[in-house]
């Protein structure tokens, strides 16, 4: 079955690559001079198509028994490269800018997905990521404006995220409210209260919605590497926090006693309880911690570059984070990777809309989502969540 999906992706790619065109690919770098890469617009996608067909053929012949994901990943990357080359024919497109934008845009998705990892590994399904982020974005803007310090806003946002995490934990653990219900409630509540307060307070007192924003931090030395420097080491604090948190959550989950307990509670709470682990407390902690991470993700919206809060500014990204979590198979680093992919899709949309292509821009804009569906259908297949995910633990 996975084979069939892989074939579809390979075929879809193949036809895309056969598009004729004249074009230039031009990664540019403002600070350090890197030669532009120019490729022939017709031959390059063709060549990529041939490579893809080869991979597909080999895979077919050998039945994809070994490393199916690798093959599919490679095909996907080639497909996107071909799409870009084709879309930018006769013109130039800034690939570096595209990738840098990807890193930036994946921040709230990755942090949101990390929140999901923490909660769901402990057995609590958290679809409230959206609400937590939105509330934190609002609080971040408000506190930062009032205190005149962006850091205060970030702290405030984290605190509100953790507080909502506590409320969510109380609902789902103490009151055993169904977790989907509890999460939905928090989402709706956050949307309502932030919109209400925006209309009531922020519109009237405009100086309460001028939080300023975090500046870019260049990592010494590393930031000066050509291409890689601007891509990875010239960002706001959020990008570094994202990578740091993903790594530390991964370490904590798989290498510490705390992580073992969290995972045990998520897989088999009764067994964990028997072994002397306090299931309730472990879940509370994980959810509150997750809430804090989601809060941090939320402050990104109002404090990273926007410099203000707008109604419903998270615009469903909490749900994309949820998708990234599932796509990343409930693993911190997997979630980071998935968030990068979705971030790339988001960034790609904005750029494709600017390029002049014969295909209506709306179809280009939906390509990332279609690709995601294919990837999920073919690549991930039946993802396995923690066994006790979503089930309240009640001692009898």
């Amino acid at each position: 079955m996975a084979l069939a999906a892989v074939m579809i992706v390979a075929f879809g790619f193949g036809s895309g690559a056969d598009q004729d065109s004249t074009l230039v690919l031009n990664p540019r770098n403002p600070s350090v001079e890197v030669p532009d890469v120019t490729v022939p617009s017709r031959a390059a996608p063709m060549a990529l198509g041939v490579v893809c067909a080869l991979i597909g053929g080999v895979g077919l012949a050998r039945g994809y028994r070994r490393r199916p994901y690798l093959a599919l990943g490679v095909v996907l990357v080639l497909f996107i490269a071909a799409l870009l080359i084709w879309a930018a024919r006769g013109d130039d497109t800034n690939v570096l800018g595209l990738l840098t934008g990807t890193v930036r845009r994946s921040v709230p998705l990755a942090l949101g997905a990390l929140c999901g990892v923490l909660c769901e590994r402990a057995g609590v399904v958290n679809i409230a990521i959206e609400g937590m982020m939105l509330s934190a974005a609002f609080t971040g803007a408000l506190v930062a404006s009032a205190a005149g310090m962006v850091w205060a806003g970030m702290a405030g946002g984290i605190a509100v995220g953790a507080l909502l995490g506590l409320a969510f934990a109380a609902l789902s653990i103490r009151y055993t409210v169904d977790q989907i219900v509890g999460g939905t409630v928090i989402n709706i509540f956050a949307l309502g209260i932030t919109s209400f307060l925006t209309a009531r307070v922020l519109v009237e007192y405009e100086d309460l919605n001028q939080p300023g924003s975090f500046g870019t931090i260049d990592i010494p030395l590393l930031a000066r590497i050509p291409v890689l420097g601007p891509l990875l080491f010239q960002h706001t604090i959020y990008v570094y926090l994202m990578v740091g948190l993903a790594l530390s959550v991964s370490y904590a989950l798989y290498r510490t006693r705390w992580g073992l307990r969290v995972r045990a509670v998520g897989e088999h709470p009764r067994a964990a309880d028997t072994a002397g682990i306090n299931v309730t407390r472990t879940r509370y902690r994980a959810v509150v911690l997750g809430g804090g991470v989601a809060g941090l993700a939320g402050t990104f919206f109002s404090l990273d570059s926007a410099g203000s809060f707008q109604e419903n500014m998270t615009a469903g990204r909490g749900f994309i984070a949820l998708a990234a979590l599932i796509f990343g198979r409930w693993d911190p680093l997997g979630a980071l990777g998935a968030a990068m992919l979705f971030g790339f899709a988001e960034e790609l949309q904005g750029r494709l809309a600017l390029l002049d292509t014969p295909i209506p821009s709306e179809f280009l804009l939906m390509t990332p989502y279609i690709v995601t569906i294919f990837v999920v259908a073919g690549l991930v297949g039946r993802a396995r969540p923690p066994a006790a995910d979503g089930q309240p633990y009640v001692t009898s």
Partner: protein, 410 residues
Amino acid sequence: MTERGDRRRRIVGAALSGARSGALSGARRRLGALVLPALALVSALAVGGLVIVVSDPDALDAWGSFFTDPGRALGESASVVAGAYRALFESSLGSTRAIARTLREATPLLFAGLSVALAFRAGLFNIGAAGQLMVGAASAAYVGFTYELGAFVHLPLALAAGFAGGALWGGIAGLLKARTGAHEVITTIMGNFIALRLLDFALTTEAFQRPGRSDPITEPVAESARLQEVSRSFPVTWGLFLALASAALLWWLLERSTIGFRIRAVGANPAAARYAGMGVGATYLLSMGLAGGLAGLAGTVNVLGVPSFSLTPGYYQFIGFDAIALALLGRARPAGVVAAAVLFGVLRAGATGMQAATDTPVDIIVVIQALVIVFVAAPALVRAIWRVRTVRGAPGTAEGQAFTTNWGAS
């Protein structure tokens, strides 16, 4: 009481509760089922009032002098809240026209809520009502303004097209889930985005865009395909009755038919259902198809029944998330969803009147909606606040109704 004794009592209580609830008289049980939702609504309105007070400049000003003049603070707060709520209820239930407005708001909400509820019963989480709604509305509108037919043919045809469009969009997610195991949460979210772009695109094509207009809007649906109003004095379209009939039909399907049993069995435990010889994949496909069709009808009754009768970008997509709330509030039961849709209709219809009369932002109703859900979903919370003992095992208070049993598993 010692902890041990307490625990033992609880075990016995749990074992007996099933038998006890069976012995209760039906009338008492039904009454018990109404107490908690009513208290939940009162609690939600009370907390909502608190939010209004806290954010009202006049009331806050009065609270500033609470210690010198407590009467003024309380009076001011009470008048602010009472004014807001009076306006809310007057413009939603205060007159025949207001009630009609409420029911008009409730109609698409009901369809969309039923859609998510049906998916829940099959163990599926349909976040894609928004996309299915847009595709359904677009299909119905296309049939509506492209052809000129007699009303007896045209209207049913447009409705069928709306259902089919939504069913197709939902069915794709169901098919992917059945064939490849792709998680429906991801595929339906992506489906929303794709539908949004697809509609954007359609509105620029000759087939859809109104001639002579540069902005993306369709032609109005032909007179023969419109849902007519029941009477001039009570301006509700037949769409409402269609929605109620769908709710009844869905109840029958779920509770009384073989297909419904299969849907519920797959929702409760897909592995057991498969072991019992049921086609789990086919059930997923069927459930998502039907759910999508219902969501499609939500858009259809709007485009065929609400003046303007034409599509615009992102048509009514916001209902998609309300739909989840409705299904949860109605506990995924058709009758519950009907009640929830009426409640949301009241809040929606009243909100604009409230904002006009008292300057309270409409968004307060969203807060109230969330509070109602949380209080309905957490009976223990309401009991703790009101210190009531409710009838155990009463319908509608079923604790432990789980929507998440199937999360991610297939």
